[in-house]
């Protein structure tokens, strides 16, 4: 690890990724852009878990892929340990990938069904040309043990494992390169709740033992609140609100965050005072270029002129590094 522990491990600065919007006429390419990621900024400190939270279509997965340059960002800057990633040539980028890895939601789709678990976990080491056969094997066995796969199962194929165990294999594949940053893209969403708990515990153990930093992409707010140190709530590719998890969940300021929290069905509270948003996330034709991206569904700003004309900027609010992008922060409160 580098000595300059004062600087954050990851700095994401006004990151953008837009796609050409689909057009019905193939001979007349559309000028309209779908802004999947629309100027997201955040930092991840060493050893912390930063959450990107939002509903489907909010751009959280695209943001993660743009950070790792699995898709090319169309704007903004990503700096990893002081290295500007956007300007990096292919070869140094490939080398850097060793230090930043990803765990996917669907581990089955990322594991070659014909390879044994040992080969699957060894593959990243071969790709990066690390160690000789004996050293690699020792490393793979140690890694499998660390994630809780018994060594005698190392010759088995992915289909012989349960979903939770396959996710453990996916984690082993990501961690065998000893990365510093791991992007976890909904790693537990496909799992049963009892298995989710096992994997969350494993991720926490590994973070403590290996000093990992996580970017945790998650739609489940209960999990986000429990697992993340800090997080950003995304809507249509923009950060609506961000800050420490404890602050953000106890004192949400943005109408979207408040509604989102209120929508979660929980054991122990009967949500009769639930705020139910109208409409749905609609990335195109929402007129998000001017005004607030959330205004079409916003119980606070739907009919206010300023929300239609000016896009709110992230501004400090509450305690710590809590920021909110809203003209009327704190106005909407969930009834107790």
């Amino acid at each position: 690890m580098s000595p300059e522990t004062a600087t954050p491990l990851l700095i994401v600065d006004r990151l953008e990724k837009s796609f050409a919007a689909r057009n019905s006429n193939p001979f007349k390419p559309s000028r309209e852009k779908l802004r999947a990621v629309d100027g997201i900024s955040f930092t991840v400190e060493r050893g912390e878990t930063f959450g990107l939270v939002g509903e489907s279509g909010c751009g959280k997965s695209t943001a993660a892929r743009a950070i790792l340059r699995l898709v090319e960002p169309t704007g903004g800057r990503v700096s990893f340990d002081g290295i500007d990633i956007a300007g990096l040539a292919p070869e140094p980028m490939r080398k850097l990938r060793r230090r930043m890895q990803m765990v996917f939601q669907d581990s089955t789709g990322t594991l070659d069904p014909r390879m044994s678990v040992r080969d699957l976990v060894e593959e990243p080491l071969i790709v990066h040309g690390l160690g000789d056969a004996a050293a690699r094997r020792a490393k793979v066995d140690a890694m499998l043990e660390l994630v809780g796969i018994r060594p005698e199962f190392a010759t088995r194929k992915p289909h012989q494992f349960s979903g939770g165990q396959r996710q453990r294999i996916g984690i082993a594949r990501a961690l065998v390169l000893e990365p510093e940053l791991v992007v976890l893209d909904e790693p537990i969403s496909a799992l049963d709740v009892s298995v989710q708990a096992q994997i969350l515990n494993l991720l926490k153990d590994l973070q403590e033992r290996l000093g990992l930093s996580y970017v945790f992409i998650v739609h489940d707010l209960t999990v986000a609140e429990f697992f993340c140190d800090r997080l950003a709530v995304l809507y249509l590719g923009q950060v609506m609100e961000s800050g420490a998890a404890s602050e953000l969940f106890s004192n949400p300021q943005h109408p979207y965050t408040v509604s989102l929290l209120s929508a979660v069905p929980r054991v122990g509270t009967k949500g009769s005072n639930r705020i139910i948003l109208e409409g749905e996330v609609s990335p195109l034709g929402s007129g998000a270029s001017t005004g607030c991206a959330f205004r079409a569904r916003c119980p606070v700003g739907r009919d206010r002129p300023i929300c239609a004309s000016d896009r709110p900027v992230l501004a400090p609010r509450g305690t710590g590094d809590h920021t909110v992008a809203c003209h009327f922060p704190g106005e909407l409160r969930a009834a107790p």
Binding site: S194, H219, A263, P265, R266, V267
Partner: protein, 343 residues
């Protein structure tokens, strides 16, 4: 709540559903009994592979070979559905009982308009209805499930609808022939949380308006807490705990129910480890001789009685009414839970 001495709308008794495999018959649903009263909302909750969807399909006579109902009865309005011909069942499905699936795109026909599918459902069970009248009724139904511009959307295809809107269409189709019971299999699992809140609120409203009973199949205990009067917790094909939702979720008696609730991340314990359930559900073709949960149970693991004897249901009195728990230590655990809250 409705009067308790009313005969139940749905009464399942000792239902066992088996699948024939090369190595012998495997029971996915084991000796399950449950009842749903008129207008009641009952949840079946459990993890994948516990048999909750097979139970739903068994009730509707939709278990295909190599599966079969090996024992038990499914009584609807007092009439046993097990053994009825497919022709008879077709008169019941979509009419007296309807089904809402998790994935509306898989349940809707992609090459027929939503209107055509609604009209088809209506006229299948009400042949005297003219096409025009059916269309008018279809518009009414879409309005009821709050599809905007219902008349125009009638001629759209399912792929024109968003996920949440498709699920509304499914609800409209389920309601079309004024059923007495809707079986909803994970109806909001594929939806975003704000859409889930919309669809649950809608479902709650329409079932109250029509007095329809709902059997909700889900893995989400939050949804159960929100929506259902009663809950049945399933594990490895059996209902291990059942009772009034509030009482069961606040004071679970079966160790599995308790462990399931403790697996849900509790933000007040940030930074801690969760109390995960070790291991995995048992292989249904090689079930333990005693309690199916014994190998993973924090209470009974290793105990002689748990390893050797299948527990029988024990009745427990809760604040909300009686509950039934299949655990050798149910009485002891319920008493202790009572003491903890009393002190």
């Amino acid at each position: 709540m409705s009067a308790t001495n009313q005969p139940p709308l749905l009464d399942v008794r000792g239902l066992t559903t088996e699948f024939v495999t090369r190595t012998g018959a495997v029971a996915a649903v084991r000796n399950v009994s449950l009842s749903v009263r008129r207008g009641e909302k009952v949840a079946i909750v459990g993890e994948s592979g516990c048999g909750k969807s097979t139970l739903a399909l068994s009730i509707l006579g939709l278990v295909d070979r190599p599966g079969r109902i090996a024992a038990g009865e499914v009584r609807l309005h007092g009439r046993n559905l097990v053994g009825l011909s497919e022709r008879e069942m077709k008169k019941i499905r979509g009419n007296v009982v309807s089904l809402i699936f998790q994935d509306p795109m898989g349940a809707l026909d992609p090459i027929q308009t939503v209107g055509a599918q609604l009209i088809d459902t209506l006229r299948r069970h009400q042949p005297s209805l003219s096409h025009k009248a059916a269309r008018a009724r279809a518009v009414e139904l879409l309005r009821e499930v709050e599809v905007p511009a219902a008349e125009r959307r009638l001629d759209d295809y399912p792929h024109h609808y968003s996920g949440g809107m498709r699920q509304r269409v499914m609800i409209a189709i389920a309601l079309a022939n004024s059923p007495a019971l809707i079986i909803a299999d994970e109806p909001t699992t594929a939806l975003d949380v704000t859409t889930q809140a919309q669809v649950l609120a809608l479902l709650e409203r329409v079932v109250a308006n029509h007095g329809v009973a709902v059997l909700l199949i889900t893995h989400n205990l939050g949804v159960v807490a929100e929506f259902c009067d009663g809950v049945q917790v399933m594990y490895a094909g059996r209902i291990v705990e059942r009772g009034p939702t509030e009482a069961v979720l606040a004071k679970p008696t079966h160790p599995y129910t308790q462990a399931l609730l403790e697996s849900i991340p509790d933000p007040s314990r940030r930074g801690d480890r969760l109390r995960a359930i070790p291991g995995m559900p048992p292989d249904l073709s090689a079930m333990p001789t005693g309690c199916a949960f014994e190998p993973r149970c924090f209470h009974g693991h290793g105990r002689e009685i748990c390893r050797t004897r299948q527990p029988i249901p024990i009745a427990i009195e809760t604040a909300g009414g009686p509950s039934l728990v299949e655990c050798h230590f149910a009485a002891e655990r319920a008493a202790r839970a009572g003491e903890i809250t009393a002190s």
